[in-house]
């Protein structure tokens, strides 16, 4: 057999049950792999020592005063107007990974009159990434500061009327539910979210140096310039399945808009895409597009383009056939149908959607 990957060798160190027997047997009889395993063990030991030694972790876990900590949290949450931490960063685990790509192609909103809309998502384009790209995808905070100035506050509401009341959007009516999707949907809504990205040349330079390259000179006015990004409001109708996994979701969100105090979108986009740190394969796909990028993991997902009642739409499906969805932008709204259904079923639902208030 082929030599097991370095990741498989690593897993042999501390979770050998997760490694196939064939790989284990191969390693036993292969001097190269045994050397690789020894190196993995050595590095793992060093890391364990570094992280445990510095944390005194077991003592910390055992020694926490949960009651005192809960009182502290309760005091914060009970204080009116204080239930937000200062400088909330756009950094939820889900958001962080895609923030760079989303903002590069533009997302966002603005209220002040001196903010000009510089990007309005009018269509969706798939951006195919490898797992390696995904790991390497930088966070916007590597190039400046990102602040979520107004969170989306995604929440459940009691029914379609409440969803419309909260968002001003019509709710979807599905003509014929795919097989296996039954019952009435529950509804979730989110407010318009606003985030502000401030480009900082000094921070970008540090990131560039870490990537081993100089920072390309920023365009005039770029350093310190701000981009305000909005998306939403939005609503989703969710047909539940067991285990908390939705069987199908139909969602509509006011499409992302980017506003700037002066830098044109193309200038900002092309400059950000030229910065060291972004995988070249991703940058190439984003260059020259004004569409909202949809991150597609090339190893496990496929995409196709279809027509939904005259509008081009992107179909995204897991290669193992367990989930599929279709997404499109029309009239300033981003709409999607997705779930544990086939791509054909998703497209069928999309084409049959009606919207009612």
């Amino acid at each position: 057999m082929r030599h097991p990957s370095e990741g498989t060798l690593r897993r042999l160190v501390d979770e050998p049950d997760g490694v196939p027997d064939a790989a284990r047997h191969h390693v036993l009889g292969c001097a190269d792999c045994r050397a690789g395993l020894a190196a993995a063990e050595s590095d793992a030991d060093l890391a364990a020592h570094a992280l445990h030694a510095e944390a005194g972790a077991h003592d910390i876990e055992a020694g926490t005063d949960v009651d005192a900590a809960w009182r502290r949290l309760s005091a914060t949450t009970a204080a009116p107007g204080k239930f937000r931490r200062p400088g909330r960063k756009l950094r939820s685990p889900i958001v962080a990974g895609v923030a760079a790509a989303v903002v590069l192609a533009g997302a966002g909103a603005a209220a002040a009159a001196d903010w000009l809309p510089i990007f309005r998502a009018e269509r969706v384009t798939p951006v195919v990434v490898t797992p390696g790209d995904l790991v390497a995808l930088p966070d916007l905070s590597a190039y400046g500061t990102v602040e979520l100035t107004k969170p989306a506050r995604v929440r459940a509401v009691d029914g379609p009327a409440a969803a419309t009341e909260a968002t001003g959007l019509p709710v979807p009516q599905v003509g014929k539910l795919p097989r296996g999707v039954t019952g009435s949907p529950s509804y979730r809504v989110g407010d318009r979210a606003v985030a502000t990205f401030t480009f900082q040349a000094a921070k970008a330079a540090r990131t560039a140096v870490a990537a081993g390259k100089p920072l390309p000179p920023p365009p005039a006015g770029m350093d310190g310039s701000q981009f305000r990004l909005t998306a939403g409001p939005g609503l989703a109708a969710i047909w539940a399945e067991g285990h908390g996994v939705p069987a199908m979701v139909v969602a509509r969100v006011a499409a992302p808009v980017v506003y700037s105090t002066g830098i044109p979108f193309e200038t900002a986009r092309d400059y950000l895409l030229s910065l060291p740190g972004l995988p070249e394969s991703v940058a190439t796909q984003l260059r020259g597009t004004a569409a909202l990028p949809l991150i597609v993991k090339g190893a496990s997902e496929t995409t196709a383009t279809v027509d939904v009642n005259g509008v081009p739409a992107t179909v995204l499906a897991l290669k193992d056939g367990t989930m599929a969805g279709v997404v499109w932008v029309d009239g300033g709204y981003l709409t999607g149908v997705a779930g544990s259904i086939s791509a054909d079923e998703a497209v069928g639902v999309a084409r049959g959607l009606r919207w009612s208030r």
Partner: protein, 180 residues
């Protein structure tokens, strides 16, 4: 605290600002969240500050209850790494280290421990973010499957990511040691 709109004297929808299961999740997960942050920060005080931030975010979120622990673990790792990057409270952290929090009986040991913390923090802050998070989560006791689910990776690529992180960590620590 309530929010919502009234129409004809009837609340159309309303919801407390804090999710109902917050206390239950907090009590179950707080030690773990502090431990994840402490692996990055090396200080219980600062790890507890980070844990407060993380639970405030969680309290506002609609993360399903059964996904709370992986979500909180990832959020704790990110929040702690953010603290490193910004260098905030470094002075406070190092003062705390001098206040016996290192569990070191003598001054020489404390100095060595403090220096090691500083080097580890610097090395962690230089790793690619996803590698650093995977490394911290795996060394906080999450299984490969849990790390994979939390970071949307395949279990196979968790091994690769952790391996690369550990290799990079060694290089960073060596680089620091040789430059001093």
């Amino acid at each position: 605290m309530w929010w919502g709109e009234r129409k004809g004297g009837v609340a159309v929808f309303r919801r407390p600002a804090v999710r109902n299961d917050l206390e239950q999740v907090f009590r179950a997960a707080y030690p773990r969240v502090v431990a994840v942050a402490a692996r990055v920060l090396g200080s219980r005080d600062e790890a507890e500050d980070v844990a407060q931030e993380v639970f405030l975010s969680f309290g506002r979120s609609s993360v399903p209850g059964d996904e709370a622990l992986p979500w909180l673990s990832v959020a704790a790792a990110h929040a702690a790494l953010n603290h490193l990057r910004t260098g905030r409270r470094r002075a406070g952290r190092e003062n705390a280290a001098g206040n016996g929090e290192t569990f070191s009986p003598d001054v020489a040991d404390a100095v060595v421990a403090l220096d090691e913390r500083r080097r580890v923090r610097a090395a962690l802050s230089r790793l690619p973010r996803k590698q650093a998070v995977a490394l911290v989560l795996r060394h906080s006791g999450l299984s490969y499957a849990e790390v994979a689910a939390a970071l949307d990776l395949s279990p196979a690529s968790v091994g690769t990511t952790v391996r690369r992180a550990e290799s990079a960590l060694r290089k960073e620590l060596n680089r620091h040691a040789s430059s001093e």
